[in-house]
């Protein structure tokens, strides 16, 4: 009786462990299968980001901004003199490595 129980327990533990192992493997395989797709998505998002950055920079071309600055609606804008600028130093946070 004792032997059968022990055998049953062993088989049970083995079965559960095996199931857990296979299940984990499945989860892992699923994740691995998602990786190439996610990688592709990430890459395309990164590329899209570069393209959008490029479009923004094109718009922010200094020659274009200068043209805009000449328009009457922006005529009130001017470059401040260095003497008019106040630089506020933020207090250092603990452990922050900032000069």
């Amino acid at each position: 009786m004792g032997f059968l129980v022990r055998l049953f327990l062993c088989v049970l533990i083995l079965g559960v462990t095996l199931y857990a192992y296979v299940s984990k493997h499945n989860v892992l395989t699923e994740a691995r299968m998602r990786v190439p797709k996610l990688q592709q998505e990430l890459s395309s998002i990164e590329e899209e980001n570069v393209r959008l950055g490029f479009a923004i920079e094109k718009f922010e071309n200094p020659l274009h901004l200068m043209e805009l600055a000449r328009k009457p609606e922006f005529s009130h804008l001017k470059h401040p003199y260095t003497t008019e600028i106040v630089v506020v130093e933020l207090p250092k946070k603990e452990g922050e490595d900032r000069p």
Partner: protein, 660 residues
Amino acid sequence: MKLKVRVLVLGIALFALLSLLILQFFRLQIVEGTKWKKRAMAQHYFTILEPAQRGTFWSNTSVKKGHPEIPQKLAVDIRKYHLYIDPKSLPQEHKKHISETLFALSLPNEVEKKRFMVQFDKSSRSRKLVSWMDEEKKKAIGTWWYPYAKAHKIASNAVYFVPDHLRSHPFGKLFGQVMHTVQMQKDEKTLRALPTGGLELSCNRYLSGTSGKRRLMRSPRHSLEIQQLLKEPQDGADVYLTINHVLQAIAESELEKGVKQCKAKAGWAIIMNPFTGELYALAQYPFFFPDQYPVYFAKPELMEHAKIKAITDANEPGSTMKPLTIAIALQANLERQKQGKPPLFHPSDKIDTSRGNFPGRGKKPLKDTHFHHYLNMNLALQKSSNIYCATLVQRIIQNFGDSWYRDQLQNRFGFGIKTNIELPGESLGVLPTPGKKHANGRLEWSLPTPYSLAMGHNLQATSLQMTRAFAVLANGGYLVKPTLIKKIVKTNEVLVDNTVSQDFPKVLDDEVVAQVVKGMKYVTKPGGAAVVGDIWGYTEVGKTGTTEKLVGGQYTDQRHFSSFVGFAPVKNPSFVIFVGMDEPKVGFVPGKGLNHRGSICCAPVFREIGSRCLEYLGVLPDDPGGYPKSDPRFNPKTADWYKETEEMKILYEQWNRKAH
């Protein structure tokens, strides 16, 4: 017995066969193992180069004090696609439809149609149809192609895309000549970009990076192991420039106006920090659009606009040399003082400039553009007198010799030696040497040479050399090293660092600098040679220059190189500006003067660039009364140098009226 023998024979035979088999295994696995493994790998896998991302250029956004700006890229690598087909995999009956659809979706350009269609009839596994397609077109083709291929049972990879990065410039032509670009076709073996010139070429070893390796499995069934990165690509380093995109834009726009105004063949401008040698702008007109480089390299007349003339073209500087001649004469005074001898001259000395008995170009003696009887140093700079400068040089060579004078030009101002700016094709200019002969056997240094050098003739200097020479006057006497690069950084590792302060050699004494700068202040004031170079509201100094160009070994009065170089504000200058015009239209402009003279065609550009740059940098006007007399802001009491200019005017009239 017979049975035993048979069994034995069979056993031996089996053993022999087994031994042979083991031997064969040994041969295949051990002796030739590497060879077969390699062949097997080659059958199942193939490796491709993984291109590294090319480094980029960053604008210097730290020139404005107190104005932290967003880092700004000057070149961006954008992913594009090349469209390929595998003509052998395309069924003949579908080719017409596929070719027409692909053409409509990818390249709506009738000129290219013939070349496009021919590719479908080639006996090849890979033909390129279209280069540099954008993402939208790729998506449109993919949306049509994959369902179509599935429906007609055609291999889906019979039409495929190869991704690639296209060097793109968000600001178009801005800084085009200096930055340049890379060729559209890359090196097939290394996949490295091939630069076309400029900084892309000189910084190529930093920008390139190293390609990686990726192993791909031929069978697509093993989707998880389809790719393996064997070697990580190492991206190129980023180059942080000293150029500020806004100052560059100001210089380019004003230069364009100036060149068009004076109808010059070309023009260029340099803005340099006189204390560090950092170039803030290096502009040239006509512009070079890097994205359209094939157009420039296809036509010789356009190719000229692809080079950086401020460093490749050495011209005679002309009168811009005069402040430097006077600086050398003042320095010679100090040398004499050390020797316990009287000075060669004093800046206030009244020197006779009526007799131009100095040997000049050809057989003609030297003369001034306008006749003057007597001048002192300040008046000579104001009136740009050739004879005054020749007189000083005569005294220099009489006391110190030709070689001493030549050495001063080289050692104190850097003429005849390269500035070693980080650009290809820099000219070292020409500075004649006593005793040295030209290729034609004639001596480089003859009797008239020192007098010609005094007024910027008989030597050739690049615009950058002239800018550096004037920086010596702006920074208190130090010969700086011009640079375009602040630092080069590769994944947080700084490969090149020019931000640390350098010790530049002191080449002029403080008192010499102060006297020359004081003299140059009269140039842009009433009575000076370049009144239109006055930056209203700010103090400035500068000098004009106009020289005839050599054509076929002869000087011609129909082609000139004109320039203006100066700095502002006078105390603690923000920058030195050089403006050069190549072959401005010769002629008289009513109300202005001779169009081709530096004072007419370059000085206004200097003023406009200077004024706008100072405004952008937020520099407080240091001459609030310094405006034209017609301007309500003009204030004779506070206008810088107004009183001195009036006194000079009186002195000039006294000396020259009396003589008349």
